[in-house]
């Protein structure tokens, strides 16, 4: 593709960042670096499990609910059966909301992590 690329040199006035100890700890595989990584990993995994838990508790529970309470199949909102309203329509915006929540929180976690490892150097 013909795309104009601007070629620039490195910024002239740049604070000397030779000592990035937070990232260095991770690169060197020290105990401290390991703690940093474990904290990010744990945070992200807990977030993922929370979102999946929400999905299971709202959507995943439906077959069981309809199995235990057969009367639910006859519940209607207006002309539409409840099951159709839930599985045919509402479930999609709900999953989109969950995805959006996840992205917001996971990116916040990553920002916190970035600040943490870069702050150590000062």
């Amino acid at each position: 593709m013909r795309e104009r690329v601007r070629v620039t040199g490195p910024p002239r006035r740049r604070a000397p960042t030779t000592h990035r100890s937070g990232t260095r700890e991770i690169d060197a595989g020290t105990e401290l670096g390991r703690v940093y990584m474990e904290s990010l990993l744990g945070e992200q995994l807990r977030l993922a499990l929370r979102i999946l838990g929400l999905l299971a508790a709202t959507v995943g529970i439906l077959p069981l609910a309809f199995h235990l309470v057969p009367g639910l199949a006859e519940v209607r909102l207006g002309p539409m059966p409840l099951s159709w309203l839930l599985l045919g329509f509402l479930v999609y915006p709900w999953m989109l909301t969950l995805g959006w929540l996840y992205i917001r929180r996971s990116e916040a976690n990553e920002r916190d992590f970035a600040t943490l490892v870069e702050e150590v150097e000062r």
Binding site: Q44, H67, W84, L96
Partner: protein
């Protein structure tokens, strides 16, 4: 040629020409091997999400769901829900780390994570197996659609789809296919949305009869979102949920798309857009199913797969009905083309790395030549099988491909990304248990027609037991071989989870 077949014929020709034209146009951007495999990793979220949607919405989504809903009712809504939820699971557990792993294909990921050629070889075999299991029904469906639309013999469909896919994939690789797929998502959405609007207007003009009341027998089972037969029905529904929620992340053509994102953040955004696009699309097939309950009741027992193709003509007379029929035929044909292209790319990528790219004697194919040779093998084998054995059930095979993917790649990805302790021995043991377990179930289901009793239920929908079995095997064997955790596992985990903005050594 009778006038009945004109709209279908025009539609198929137009879709084919448009697909080839866009593919050729995209060719101008394909230069390097990296373009061929992963579009040089520069595809933006909006375009990439459309491409993923286009590739993912197969014949099963376009034709199958509406027919299943018509015949069986609300429990079939779990298919579209599960196919969408699969992306939510993929988003929260896999998307960004998978992109940051920097691997081209699933076998690449496995080898990089576990440092084992054995795991790599096993993964390659599984990618090809799942890819072919999924390609087979696409080719068959194309045969059936062309038969219904233009009275062609069943071997014409597979042949046309295979030829178009080969031309596009072989000439431009991933770069040009990305544009084709994105175009086909919007084509499929339009092809289902416009006729649905017209049909709903006709339905409202008829006094909006309620499809869940009166018409046909068994109105209550039709609104029960659960399989029939008490505990067995509950098992089938939950097993379907496991297979679709977890299987998506293991489908080779889905995973390969994630490597085309620029970075982990973009991979997440892409997935969110995919969730929105799929959600919008999946609102439509149930509408056809519900309308079919009023206007096409006799299709419920015979040939419900043709519901989407037949309904416009049944509800609207004259030229408008013909035009709408042409539109849905175009959408269905686009569904076969795009899903087949995506799968062929994934399978060709793996074959070219592990089979056709190898040295034969003193001769060795270059990167792009190997990719083309891989594409030929990837397409010709399933196309030939679908012509030779055209009677394997379409919707079933797709469901089984999900079950196999969920039982093999899902545990591998989950543990590989989130658990440092995974060893090569553990991964191989788990892949074998999951692959053999679900594979035997697939084989059994394809050769018998028995559908009652617990054995048939457990084998017909294996995910609920085969996924936990594979996961447990991986964990237990990894524990037993704890001393052989790869030494670079810690470093690799750092790379998977660290945001790109943090300045680390990434080697």
């Amino acid at each position: 040629m009778s006038t009945e077949v004109v709209p279908g014929f025009v539609a198929v020709v137009l879709v084919t020409v448009a697909t080839l034209a866009i593919g050729t146009w995209g060719l101008r951007f394909s230069r390097t091997t990296s373009d061929f495999f992963v579009a040089s990793r520069t595809v933006r979220p909006g375009l990439n999400a459309s491409a993923i949607g286009g590739e993912y919405l197969s014949a099963a989504s376009f034709l199958g769901v509406a027919g299943l809903v018509l015949t069986f009712g609300a429990d079939m809504l779990w298919y579209p829900v599960g196919w969408t939820a699969g992306y939510l699971v993929l988003l929260v557990l896999v998307a960004a780390p998978l992109r940051r792993s920097g691997a081209y294909t699933l076998p690449d990921f496995a080898e990089a994570r576990l440092g084992s050629r054995g795991v790599r070889a096993l993964c390659s075999v599984l990618v090809v197996a799942i890819g072919w299991l999924y390609l087979l029904p696409q080719f068959q469906g194309a045969g059936l659609t062309l038969q219904a639309a233009i009275d062609a013999p069943t071997w014409v469909g597979p042949l046309v789809v295979a030829a178009v896919v080969l031309i596009n994939v072989g000439s431009g690789g991933m770069r040009s296919i990305t544009f084709v797929q994105a175009f086909q998502y919007w084509l499929k959405l339009t092809a289902l949305l416009l006729p649905a609007c017209v049909l709903l207007a006709v339905w409202a003009g008829d006094g909006a009869p309620n499809p869940t009341m009166g018409a046909g027998a068994g109105a209550d089972y039709w609104s029960l979102p659960l399989g029939e037969g008490g505990a067995q029905g509950l098992y089938v529904t939950y097993s379907l949920i496991v297979a679709t929620f977890l299987g998506t992340m293991g489908l080779p053509h889905v995973v390969v798309r994630f490597y085309t994102n620029p970075d982990g953040r973009a991979a997440r955004r892409t997935t969110l857009v995919v969730l929105a696009l799929l959600g919008a699309f999946y609102l439509l097939p149930p509408v056809y199913g519900a309308l079919g309950r009023i206007y096409a009741t006799d299709l419920a027992t015979a040939g419900s797969d043709a519901l989407v193709l037949e309904l416009p003509r049944l509800m609207v007379d004259g030229i408008l009905g013909e035009v709408l029929t042409g539109l849905v035929t175009a959408g269905a044909f686009a569904a076969f083309l795009s899903t087949s292209s995506g799968l062929s790319i994934a399978v060709a990528g793996v074959l070219s790395q592990d089979v056709t790219g190898r040295r034969f004697g003193t001769h060795r194919l270059s990167g792009i030549a190997a990719f083309r040779a891989g594409a030929v093998i990837a397409v010709v084998v399933p196309a030939w099988v679908s012509i030779a054995a055209p009677d394997v059930g379409v919707a079933r095979t797709v469901g089984l491909a999900f079950a196999v993917a969920a039982s093999t790649f899902c545990p591998l990805l989950l543990l590989g990304i989130w658990w440092r302790g995974l060893t090569a021995a553990g991964a191989i043991a788990g892949l074998v248990v999951g692959g053999v377990g679900s594979g035997l179930a697939v084989g059994w289901t394809l050769v018998t027609s028995e559908t009652t009793g617990w054995v048939a239920v457990l084998l017909g929908q294996p995910a609920a037991w085969s996924v936990p079995a594979a996961l447990a095997t991986m964990v237990l064997v990894s524990r037993a071989t704890r001393s052989r955790v790869p030494t670079h596992a810690g470093r690799f985990m750092v790379r998977l989870h660290t945001p790109e903005s943090v300045d680390l050594q990434r080697t």
